[in-house]
Amino acid sequence: MSWWLPPAASTFAGPIDGLFLAILIITGIALVVVEVGLVTFVVRYRARPGRKAFYTHGSTRAEVIWTAIPAVTMVALGLVSNHYWVIMKSKNSVPANAYHVGVHAKQFEWRTTYPGADGQLGTGDDFTVRNQLHIPVGQPIAVELTSEDVIHSFFVPEFRVKQDAVPGMHITAWFQATKTGEYEIGCAELCGMGHYKMRARVFVHTPEEFNAWMAGAQQAAGGSE
């Protein structure tokens, strides 16, 4: 098993994993400082007969130092984080060339709707597939998330994408896959007794493969009506 984040397969993974590592280093240093200090004090200042503790009510200078360092670190961390947050989640951040796919969550399935030949969602040639999301690699994908009944959460670990699907809301989440292959979509919000079975697969194709799949799927969908 992996002792790290899942393999990276989207453009978000770089900054997120980098930030994760940075926070791990910062918090790691803080943790070592505190725990080493604690263990040192525990060993060094354990009670010995005849000794008396050093009587002090504190030191303003020390307190200013250990107030200022976390404060500055946190503000810096906030600024860096917000930069990437805006890129990933802001309402205006979805690239103009994104390929839009509808994902409708219901107890306990993911229904993906493709725009069909005209490339537009919400037209007659749309078709819907159950529990399979097919996308081309290297192109921004905008997932139009809706929910039928309760709150679900669209989660693809390798893409570092997570977005709740809320009934009554239309939420667009975007990402860009960088590696072809097969991944899993999980539901990350408790949605009922079948929550754990709400699993779907993502197939990241090369553009040629994607077009071939699209042609076949369109035919299969069109033929059945």
Binding site: K106, Q107, F108, E109, R111, V129, R130, N131, Q132, G192, M193, G194, Y196, K197, M198, R199, A200, R201, S224
Partner: protein, 264 residues
Amino acid sequence: MKGRLFGLVGGVFLLTVCSKGATPRPANESDASTPPAAATDESSTTQQGGGATITGRIKFTGTAPRNRPIDMSEEAACKAKYTTNPPAEETVVTGPANALANVFVYIREGLPASAKYPAPATPVVLDQDGCRYKPHVLGIMVGQGLEIRNSDPVLHNIKAVAKKNRPFNVSQPTAGMKTTRTFSAPEVMVNLECNVHGWMTAFVGVRPDPFYAVTGPDGSFTINGLPPGTYTIEAWHERFGTQTATVTVTGTESKTANFTFAAR
């Protein structure tokens, strides 16, 4: 203060008792091969029963819509059960010569209001096999056990959508599980659905009497053991709706009532 405390304890006790009543233990599990709608055989033993029989054949006109194929590729354990024919929906199941299967036929009116029919001890079995309900349409008597089985090694939940009966929603995560439920009021139909597999639906006709049947692939049905009288019988199909007919029977005579649905 003391009284209040005792009242509280009593309330909790009462809730405990209620819960026992509402989670029925499986009834008789000995007879697993009881066919659905076999209740007709038992009616002859009841006091109100008679010797008359109504038979019929159900057909449709026009072109039946094609049943859409079901893509089970995300549920490998179920997909593996279909080696020859790929699974398709069962909305309209037909037989030779335009016979229409899965039609629920029952006596809607005409039985004496005072008549009481005891529910048979053997349960009706509903199997979940290959991510399908078997059977797709079934009849059951009020108070009779519905034994729901899971023959698939995957999670199914069984959600009953009902208006006159108390809805339920239970799950069976592993193969071999059995749950028995009963219905308390007549209702045509109670819908069953599985939310993990959106294509899975079944329809349960709940009747206070044993005079009902579901048509097989040949479109035929038989309701026997009827007391003499004039009856309104109704045929229900999930896609084509309902039709009624009035039939009068006396003694041990046998009458025919055929129905023809227009495909749409």
